[in-house]
Homo-oligomer: 554 residues x 2
């Protein structure tokens, strides 16, 4: 047995409270190495009534098998160890490691524990997110609904963007296109920043309390949100709290007054007078016009928390997406969560995070992150075709095991965004590939998000090319794709099993992949033939089934 | 190479901020499996200036080698991967696993990261703790300084205790014995609970805002603390926040009024009228007279936080030891830390925790825990002699690697407490064994604590026997032990290297163990012959050395 491969940690993604009663336990071991694992568990103050359960081999990645189980400790206290059977040997696995014999009297000093399931420590995620299909809008590029607030120099709608282009898109434009969005079927909108800022992307905030005048004003934002709410559409805004813009008043005050400015400690100033090339202050990504905010300063924290609360209270938004969230302190995000959830209990908090985001997803900070790791797997498999069916499954399993199940269930899943090239471009305009990736996205665990225009076949390389103005000329749309997206959204909305169901790979499908989602009495089988396998694959299933794409009944 | 054995996680005990500039990185691999590990690191926005450093094999446990390094990222942003060399193969280890070739363009989606070293996330520990030797007092059993406040029925001082014995020890008694404590040399006192409660141990609080009348009152506590402070002695109290006592007024109100009581939700009531056998409410360890407090209720949190703050503000105490800390919510402890550190920036927060306590020691909750895992290792090695020299070293290494170095440096290290048998009893009265264990405790990383009476050779089995009244008759003392303890304390106080130095095992010492502590120009070598190895062991050292026990100069 590969003893070094065996891993478990309480109070981590390997042992966490799923809800008020249930604790999820995972154990990792070398792939194929272990025949059987038992969880032996009980209350440390009443160990005599211990119980023993067989754990299930739930999934595997390239190196490991993952065994899982859920337990419901009667007294909310859980002490436990694992009994691990290999081919010719049995080990007991406790906090102190692997041993040949267990001393049950050492429960206090020896066993793994989830000492008490306290309600406040449970990561409760917003339930509505599971029922939502998001649509990401880059407001400057969606639709120009009010030409009176246009910037001076407009690039013609339809031309390719540069970093500095302005097209005149605004909030009124989104309001005008709500019929379109409702027809598409989405019921959540995520807007990239809309607050006063000089650039087209507005990630360089000048005024956190003001809607950018080229986009509209508070009243129009309110109108947008309330009209969305009337249609059952939730609205998420973008919180850019890692850094502000160069023209943010407190930063301008520091430029002018240096240490005499009351805002001097709002930033990380290395030298004054301020220099911009290279910046004499901490910035986002060495970008001089994005000075990093100093969240170690309580005044800065208070200010940003006020912003977070203001837009919920004023405009009734339903959550925040957090820009560059990994570079802001955990301490700040904990306060942020408290304030936001106080303002709106079921607000959705999504971090921008490209990494294994578990340190931010333990329940005290975010509800989910933009699932870039999933995007990467979908690109490798569907677009680049540089991983096998099995490797894809292993990657997905690895991503699932990184986080708790409640987080996976509300993960913000995407295949492209304003920060990546378009998926269709990455797969050389092969629409079938995009349709397969979308099929996966809409039938997998978590909440899908469509980046504006994906659904009609918009292309584009990396920023600024991925931020082209929305194509409104239907003659230029890929209607097959558009109708397929509409269908996927409809199927997801009609089948709770796709929004709430468990996830399990189907084995022995030869050269295609497939998985089952189960919820109560319902099951959905999803089959994807990514590598043009041209033989017949037989799937044995009992009962009556409907092909949700064609409506055919079996 | 055992690929499955290789482990690393950012934002964990494997990668954490040690201070405002330095990040500690650890990598785990199978023991003996790896020849060399390089850390390749840089700023993700400026990867061209990446650097490469060789990591050091710092220590090993039974299964693993641990490689460590510290880095100082110039821009406070750290992206990194490992280059791992085995006998005939080289792997690159990123967040996605082990690969044969690295694509340096995938830094965003591929590398490990500590995205930004934010000041607020650094675990800052109280510096004074490193210079402190604690003395734990169970007030009812230390000294009766005021017979006018004695309980009605007193057991004679010197007789063996039962669970219900009272001896009359009190705060005045501690004040009276400060000369003794100063002579011994300690400069920190940890008192088990002193607030109004019916039992002798007072873990069943009746009134959190009142000193128990058998122990004294607020004025006497203030006098104790201020007299301690005059002598440079810090004072820590015991916060019993997991549960209250049966006679806590809010609980009594619930007993009387049930759901009509405004305190009904302060507890976890399953059934009313209240039953005690078995309890119809959550308790500590099924003990009816210790009802668990419901910290999910904000009123309870506010109440307990007020208590935490009150005794710092009123009596100027220097920190809190937290009873049954593992069963209280993390959410509560985070608020607790905020409130306590606001009241006194360098207050010391110690959890009672018998487990791997890392989930509580990340910087947002406690500064340290009672180091029961270390106690267990010392018992196994010195008292029971059931592990070898090597196994002991491996155990200690395992314990070190569980936590960050700043936590290890202020860990509350002990060999016995009011919740264990006496060490001397566990080693069958073999005083030499106790002296060896104490030698380890006083020369190891972390803050030693003496449980009252250890220093004079008090014995006792598990509770209540470990809570015998302090022996004040010098004729009954083991003077050799007492003088040795005084010497150990003095040596620790005189040698900063023992309080601040690094820790490293000395290899090739045949059948004894030894380690070096280093700090600036100073070095201490500690050699312990636990298994009566009777051959001469040669240690080659340069320069002049003093035998700190005998004063002899080499």
């Amino acid at each position: 047995m590969n003893l070094q491969a065996i891993y478990h940690k309480p109070k981590s993604n390997f042992c966490y409270a799923y809800n008020e009663n249930v604790i999820h336990i995972r154990l990792r071991a070398e792939k194929g190495d272990i025949k059987k694992v038992f969880l032996v568990y009980g209350d440390k103050y009443n160990w005599n009534e211990k119980q023993e359960l067989v754990m299930k081999l739930t999934c595997s990645d390239d190196l490991y098998d993952y065994f899982t189980i859920e337990v419901t400790p009667k007294s909310k206290r859980l002490a436990y160890y694992f009994k691990i059977e290999g081919d010719n040997e049995t080990f007991y696995f406790t906090e102190w490691g692997l041993i040949n014999d267990i001393n049950e009297k050492e429960v206090y000093l020896h066993f793994f524990q989830y000492p008490y399931l306290n309600k406040e420590d449970i990561h409760i995620v917003p339930e509505w997110v599971k029922d939502t299909v998001f649509y990401q809008i880059f407001p400057e590029r969606f639709f120009n609904g009010d030409t009176s607030n246009d910037p001076d120099k407009l690039t013609k709608w339809g031309e390719l963007p540069t970093s500095d282009s302005f097209y005149g898109g605004d909030l009124k434009g989104i309001i005008n296109k709500l019929d379109y969005l409702e027809e598409l079927g989405i019921n959540g909108i995520y807007l990239t920043p809309i607050f006063e800022a000089p650039t087209n992307h507005k990630y360089d905030t000048k005024d956190y309390f003001k809607v950018d005048s080229h986009f509209g004003d508070l009243e129009i934002l309110k109108e947008l949100v309330s009209k969305c709410h009337e249609r059952g559409i939730k609205v998420i805004l973008d919180a850019v709290f890692n850094h502000c813009g160069y023209f943010f008043e407190p930063f301008q005050d520091v430029i002018k007054r240096g240490e005499k400015s009351p805002y001097y400690d709002w930033f990380h100033i290395h030298k004054w007078p301020i220099e911009t090339n290279p910046p004499s202050y901490d910035t986002f990504a060495f970008t001089y016009y994005m000075p990093k905010l100093n969240t170690a300063n309580p005044e800065v924290r208070d200010y940003l928390l006020k912003v977070a609360r203001y837009w919920i209270d004023e405009a009734d938004i339903d959550g925040w997406r957090l820009d560059v969230s990994d570079e802001v302190s955990h301490a700040f995000w904990r306060e942020f969560r408290r304030v936001v959830k106080e303002a709106k209990e079921d607000a959705y908090i999504i971090g921008e995070l490209w990494l294994d985001a578990y340190p931010w997803l333990k329940g005290d900070q975010f509800d989910a992150v933009m699932n870039y790791p999933l995007m990467r797997a979908l690109l490798q498999y569907f677009a680049y075709e540089n991983i096998s069916n099995n490797q894809f499954k292993e990657l997905i399993n690895k991503i699932i095991m990184r986080n708790t199940m409640q987080v996976n269930e509300v993960m913000f899943n995407l295949i492209e965004s304003h920060d990546t090239s378009r998926f269709l471009t990455e797969c050389n305009k092969n629409v079938k590939k995009l349709m397969m990736a979308a099929t996966f996205l809409f039938t997998y665990i978590g909440t899908p998000c469509i980046y504006y225009g994906t659904e009609i076949g918009m292309e584009g390389g990396y920023d600024p090319d991925c931020r082209r103005p929305m194509e409104w000329d239907k003659r230029a749309w890929n209607l097959e794709l558009f109708n397929y997206y509409k269908k996927l959204i409809k199927i997801r909305k009609q089948n709770k099993v796709l929004r709430r169901g468990s996830f399990e790979w189907i084995n022995d499908l030869e050269e295609i992949i497939g998985f089952i989602r189960k919820y109560e009495e319902e099951k959905v089988f999803v089959l994807i033939n990514n590598y043009n396998f041209d033989k017949k694959v037989t799937l044995k299933i009992d009962g009556k089934y409907i092909d949700v794409l064609t409506g055919e009944i079996f």
